[in-house]
């Protein structure tokens, strides 16, 4: 903020500075210099006074010296020649008996940042390293780093580097830490200061002498150390344990960072360390400084990625304070969503509901989104709240609610009834384009269930001329087309008007092109149009999985204690990246929508890419299956509900038909699946098929249906440790759709999947549903396991060869086998065999990749 008349000020000050009367009066001289610095820090250009200030430097008054140095260091780069004049004074000061004057001179000599002065600076710096006073040595050590950066090309003398290394043993802790810092900068090209065993142990022993800033620095440098033995590692860890629970957040964070890098090979130790910092981190969350609270919150989010249940009991600590800034509230809500479980869900939703009417629109929106996220697991309660919010008739709330509903319906199609009912009438309050797009999408996809849909669309179409948003127009086109497919009589006229407007009058190319596309599509016939437009209504992939699977610590360890977690949007907002239906509509997943069939030859390639460690039996099967070309397809898609209905119905029927033992197992299995979300104490770590379960409907026809049921064991021990994403990707490559998973490392580990087979010579395709189950080491599970293998023998449709195989796998695989339960409808043994071999190959390939 430059003063008006800065020139005038400069002239006046120059007159004062060169006035001998002022110069002789110390107080007046100092006050004049103060005025110069004040103007300087307010942004007035004072460089014109450089020579006057150089003169003022030669004084015995330390305060005045300091002030002049502040000035000189700011403007030296503009006046390199005049700066030479200062050097003499500075060098003289370096000989001063007062250590404070010596350190001051040395520091400012290096702060001038003029390459031309380097030759004059080196000698006093070298002397400074051996100075009696610690404060001079501190300055001198860092001075070398400054010198190095000033002249990166010139090599710093090896003798200096050696001297710096030896100063690591300086009695003053700040000198020691400064040596580390200087060496890090000087040796940057060689990877920084050498961290070997003696240096590490020396630093660790002296850690306690340093203040918190020094400790943080030392801990940071030590991250590069790799202990030579496990004993040494644990010695270091126990030495640092006190720092890990330090009340000072910087030390706690630096220590945890060090722990994570030291224990990168020992996940269990890392997890234990995370548990240990829970207390200090929570304390930092309640710190008086809101910036510190925010930092701690962001880092808690990182920790939750690896241990979702870490803060479960402390959810109340994340309730928003009434006067907290919006950025803290939004982070807290993100954390709250992660902590939800059966016990606290009512409390949490009550709290979140209170935030929905926050004055800050962004906070309100975040709260509504958070409720939507919880709605994936507790849809009824959340929909009730969301519907209630629509009653407020406020544009930003309604918009957020409609968007949230769209995202929710995309992953939980069973909510659609409630959502369709709630949609009536909310178009009146919607103002922003995002909200209207969401409404249009919902009307297009569920148009047949919203009675007023055509009238709502008509209002939009009538106003299309004044519509400014491109997204809304495109969405309107798609929605009208979709509605036309299910309610042609009501929609035909307005669709015509819309297409006419978009093709004839619309100036935007995107909209016009899309309208033309639809127009031509309609020419191709209604069936073609239906095929193109009626895609999925819900996300077929990870939708039923609640919560995030636990990530390994190494995924985020590097960004811990950096600025990264504090950035806005650094934690991916899943609702946007995953669920947004437009995303998939305009940018379809290549392997899900485009290639609905995949030939078996690709599988062969996959197999040959993997190594030869597959068991002989599976190779045999593969060979036999390749003989009859089999292709898998994901089309038509199967919703999780349908899957569940078929699977349970099948199980029940199977149980009725099977023998006693089998029945016991299956009933057991079913009940286990039903109570899954309640039977595990650590909610958030296990599988949750989240939907409100509908009881299996026993169709009359079901009994007549032709189906087959088989069980098989595949030996691939590392599969359960695989990440769901890679498993899903691998399965999708061969057109097998995975529907639900447990997070890796949990027992029992399950995956549910389905596909359609299509044999070239077979008249029709078959549907295969499957479950992978890994029960782990528990002995009674192993029994069940064996029993199930026997059941496999008893089950119809299993040929001898496969049964033998299953037995073998159980025998030699022991508890490491993954049990595969398959169900095919209608029955086709050849296709089933082929599918099994493909599945086995995929599992083996994945397994060998892991190993």
């Amino acid at each position: 903020m430059p003063y008006l008349g800065g020139e005038e000020t400069v002239r006046e000050l120059r007159r004062a500075l060169s006035n001998p009367n002022v110069q002789s009066d110390q107080l007046r001289y100092r006050n004049t210099i103060l005025k110069v610095i004040r103007a300087m820090s307010q942004g007035v250009d004072m460089s014109g006074l450089f020579s006057e200030m150089v003169k003022a430097c030669a004084t015995v008054d330390v305060v005045q010296k300091k002030l002049v140095y502040v000035f000189l260091c700011s403007y030296a780069a503009l006046n390199p020649e005049l700066s030479l004049l200062v050097i003499n004074t500075l060098r003289k000061d370096c000989q001063d008996p007062n250590p404070m004057v010596r350190s001051l001179a040395l520091r400012n000599m290096t702060n001038l940042r003029l390459p031309s002065l380097v030759e004059y600076v080196e000698q006093p710096l070298a002397a400074g390293l051996r100075d009696r006073a610690a404060c001079v040595r501190r300055v001198a050590v860092l001075g070398w780093a400054k010198l190095h950066n000033l002249q990166a090309s010139s090599e710093i003398d090896a003798a200096v580097v050696n001297e710096l290394y030896s100063l690591l043993r300086d009695p003053d802790p700040v000198v020691m830490v400064n040596c580390l810092r200087a060496l890090e900068e000087i040796l940057k090209d060689e990877g920084g200061v050498a961290i070997n065993k003696p240096i590490t142990h020396h630093l660790l022993n002296r850690l306690k002498e340093c203040d918190i800033w020094g400790q943080c620095q030392v801990l940071r440098v030590l991250q590069r150390y790799r202990p030579q033995s496990e004993d040494e590692l644990f010695d270091i860890l126990s030495l640092l344990d006190a720092s890990l629970v330090s009340p000072h957040p910087p030390i706690m964070a630096a220590t945890l960072s060090l722990f994570l890098s030291l224990c990168s090979g020992q996940p269990a130790v890392s997890l234990a360390a995370l548990e240990r910092v829970r207390g200090p981190l929570l304390a930092a969350c309640g710190s008086g400084s809101r910036e510190m609270r925010f930092t701690a919150l962001c880092h808690i989010q990182l920790l939750l990625r690896s241990i979702p249940g870490l803060m479960g009991a402390h959810y109340k600590r994340f309730f928003c304070g009434y006067a907290e800034p919006a950025y803290i509230k939004q982070r807290k809500m993100q954390v709250l969503v992660e902590l939800v479980n059966d016990e606290n869900v009512a409390m949490l939703l009550d709290e979140l509901k209170g935030y929905c009417t926050d004055v800050n629109a962004e906070t309100a929106q975040a709260a509504i989104t958070a409720i939507g996220r919880i709605g994936r697991s507790y849809s009824d309660r959340c929909l009730e709240i969301l519907t209630g919010l629509l009653g407020l008739k406020q544009d930003h709330i309604t918009s957020a609610v409609v968007q949230t509903m769209r995202d929710l319906v995309w992953v939980c199609p069973q909510c659609s009834d409630t959502v369709c009912f709630a949609l009536e009438g909310c178009e009146e309050t919607l103002q922003d384009s995002q909200g209207r797009q969401a409404l249009l999408w919902l009307l297009g996809v569920y148009g047949e269930r919203v009675s007023s849909a055509p009238y709502t669309l008509e209002v939009f179409i009538d106003g299309v001329r004044s519509e400014a948003s491109l997204g809304v127009k495109m969405e309107l086109l798609t929605a009208t087309m979709r509605l036309f497919l299910c309610r042609p009589a009501e929609t035909q006229d307005m669709l015509g008007r819309l297409l006419h407007y978009c093709i004839e009058e619309e100036t935007d190319m995107c909209v016009r092109d899309q309208a033309l596309l639809y127009y031509r599509l309609l020419h191709c016939g209604i069936e073609e149009t239906r095929k193109v437009l009626q895609g999925r209504r819900s996300d077929p992939s990870l939708g039923v999985l609640i919560g995030r699977p636990a990530e390994p610590v190494s995924q985020w360890a590097r960004s811990f204690n950096t600025l990264e977690p504090l950035r806005q949007g650094s934690i991916e907002t899943e609702s946007v990246s995953r669920g947004s239906p437009e995303h998939t509509m305009f940018d379809p997943k290549p392997n899900a929508d485009l290639s609905n069939t995949l030939d078996c030859s690709r599988i062969e390639k996959v197999h040959s890419d993997g190594d030869g460690r597959c068991s002989d039996s599976s190779a045999d099967i593969l060979a036999s299956s390749v003989a009859a070309p089999l292709s898998l397809s994901l089309f038509p898609a199967l919703s999780p509900e349908e899957f569940e209905r078929l699977w349970l119905q099948q199980l029940a029927l199977h149980a009725e038909q099977g023998n006693e033992m089998e029945k016991g197992y299956i009933v057991n299995n079913t009940s286990q699946r039903f109570s899954l979300s309640r039977s595990f104490p650590f909610i958030g770590q296990d599988l949750w098929l989240t939907r409100a379960r509908r009881p299996a409907e026993k169709d009359e026809e079901a009994g007549k249906e032709d189906f087959v049921w088989m069980e098989e064991c595949v030996r691939c021990p590392t599969i359960p440790r695989c990440s769901p994403q890679s498993l899903q990707a691998a399965m999708q490559l061969v057109n097998i759709q995975t529907l639900a998973f447990t997070p890796p490392q949990t027992l029992p580990w399950r995956v549910y999947l389905y596909t359609h087979t299509c044999l070239d010579d077979a008249p029709h395709s078959t549907l295969i549903l499957g479950e992978l189950l890994y029960t782990g080491e528990e002995p009674q599970k192993a029994e069940v396991h064996k029993g199930s293998a026997d059941g496999g023998v008893g089950a119809e449709g299993i040929e001898d060869e496969q049964a033998r195989q299953g037995m073998e796998a159980t025998a030699d695989g022991g508890q490491e086998a993954v049990k595969v339960t398959l169900r095919q409808q209608p029955r086709d043994d050849k296709a089933l065999k082929g599918f099994l071999s493909i599945l086995t190959t995929v599992l083996h390939t994945l397994s060998s990749e892991r190993a």
């Binding site: 520091r107 400064n178 207390g279 910036e291 406020q394 600025l563």
Partner: protein
């Protein structure tokens, strides 16, 4: 590693600017202020980036304290340092405001010069720094406790006159060296209580975060002993005895506190350095020893004229001897509320409709224990529907309770050694 540090006033005036490494040239201050003003809300995020420049800032005393740094530096360290820096400036300049920073800029440059070299934090201990700092602080309004001695009306030594205003501790630490004789030490017990009460009167959440702060103006104090309640217990597992035991969940101490007498007698021993230090921090959640100090009984209805009627009764459950001050109740009201008419029970209270924050703020300067106040607000809300009633609430209440702690923590005694010459006077300070 810190590249630059600058202090900005809330209006964007440059108060202090120091570049430590000369790497990221250009107009960092301008860029920062542009980013701050470009945001709609008044609460810019703590970390902002612009072309490889990373700004980390804290707000203290209405000022922006900003550091620019590299992406891989520790946010904990930088935020802690900026907080510490502002505390140092407060210690040295007496108080923290735009004015005090402007008046003492030379001193702050000096502080920064000693605290940070080449972007590396050297020291922030006021014991070390006081040897280096030469500049005198300029204080706008020096205040001494001794001014209070003759406050008593007609010479009567009332209890009231022993209460020093909170500004008593806002003077620079350095000046004590010259003026001499004013050996003062302030020990503050400050508790922040946050309580959430459901509409049915149930206590949903209660948290107390407390701290004991020592602000020391003694030039030479070798040791100080602070005695806490003897019944002070930590953690949930310990059995509670009879009587008024004081319990907290977690406690942490400043590193200079020696705890050898803590376990047996609940005595903290420390050698305070000049300036302000947080000696002890503690937390208590969920299980408050006493009832929350206020109860609110709201009634909300629509009258026949389409107005919103809010009848609030607020009761103070404190003991009659104590009183809450600066009580402010914030009642969120429906969007589009136009005007407010009010009936308050005494003239010193005030209520105001704040349209931008969509709330009615009801202020009560002093609220004695056992009293009950009531207020009737009538709001003109066009298009009031039954759904709008959902927007009313939750009511927020902020207040200060002098001479009272929610946990019951008290300072039993304060002993200094060597014994200070002259008579000592004890004061209670209003926060």
């Amino acid at each position: 590693m810190i590249s630059q540090i600058f202090i900005l006033s809330s209006k964007g005036d440059h108060l202090i600017y120091k570049d430590f490494r000369g790497e990221s040239g250009g107009d960092a201050v301008g860029v920062f202020y542009e980013k701050v003003t470009a945001l709609t809300g008044d609460q810019p995020p703590v970390v902002m980036s612009h072309k490889g420049l990373h700004f980390v800032h804290v707000r203290q005393g209405g000022l922006y304290w900003v550091a620019t740094t590299t992406a891989d530096s520790s946010p904990f360290t930088i935020i802690e340092f900026l907080n510490r820096l502002s505390a140092l400036v407060k210690d040295y300049c007496g108080s923290l405001s735009e004015k005090s920073v402007q008046m003492n800029f030379a001193l702050i440059y000096e502080l920064l010069d000693e605290a940070v070299d080449y972007g590396y934090i050297q020291t922030t201990s006021s014991d070390v720094l006081k040897n280096f700092i030469q500049t005198e602080a300029v204080s706008s309004r020096p205040f001494s406790l001794f001014d209070l001695s003759n406050v008593g009306l007609f010479g009567a030594e009332t209890q009231q006159s022993k209460v020093a205003p909170s500004s008593a501790a806002t003077r620079p630490i350095q000046s004590s060296r010259e003026q001499g004789g004013k050996s003062e030490i302030f020990v503050d017990v400050i508790e922040r209580m946050s309580v959430v009460i459901g509409s049915n009167g149930m206590l949903m959440k209660a948290d107390v975060e407390g701290e004991i702060r020592v602000k020391c103006y003694l030039p030479n104090c070798s040791e100080m002993r602070i005695g806490l309640n003897e019944e002070f217990s930590i953690g949930k597992s310990q059995l509670r005895g009879y009587g008024a035991a004081v319990r907290v969940d977690e406690v942490s101490f400043h590193q200079m506190v020696r705890l050898d007498e803590f376990d047996s007698h609940r005595i903290l021993r420390l050698c305070p350095s000049q300036g302000e230090q947080m000696v002890m921090q503690y937390q208590l959640s969920d299980d408050l020893p006493s009832a929350p100090p206020f109860r609110l009984f709201p009634t909300i209805e629509r009258d026949s004229g389409g107005r919103l009627l809010m009848y609030l009764k607020l009761r103070c459950d404190l003991p009659p001897k104590s009183a809450a001050i600066n009580v402010a109740a914030t009642i969120p009201v429906p969007k589009g509320s136009l005007s407010l008419s009010q009936e308050l029970s005494s003239p010193d209270q005030s209520a105001e409709l704040k349209p931008q924050s969509r709330a009615v703020v009801w202020k009560i300067p002093r609220f004695t224990g056992g009293m009950q106040l009531s207020a009737l607000f009538k709001l003109e809300v066009p298009g009031l529907s039954s759904a709008s009633l959902l927007e009313v609430g939750p009511v927020g209440l902020s207040f200060e309770l002098p001479k009272l702690t929610a946990t019951g923590l008290q300072i039993r005694f304060l002993r200094l050694s060597p014994v200070q010459p002259g008579p000592s006077q004890r004061w209670v300070r209003v926060p």
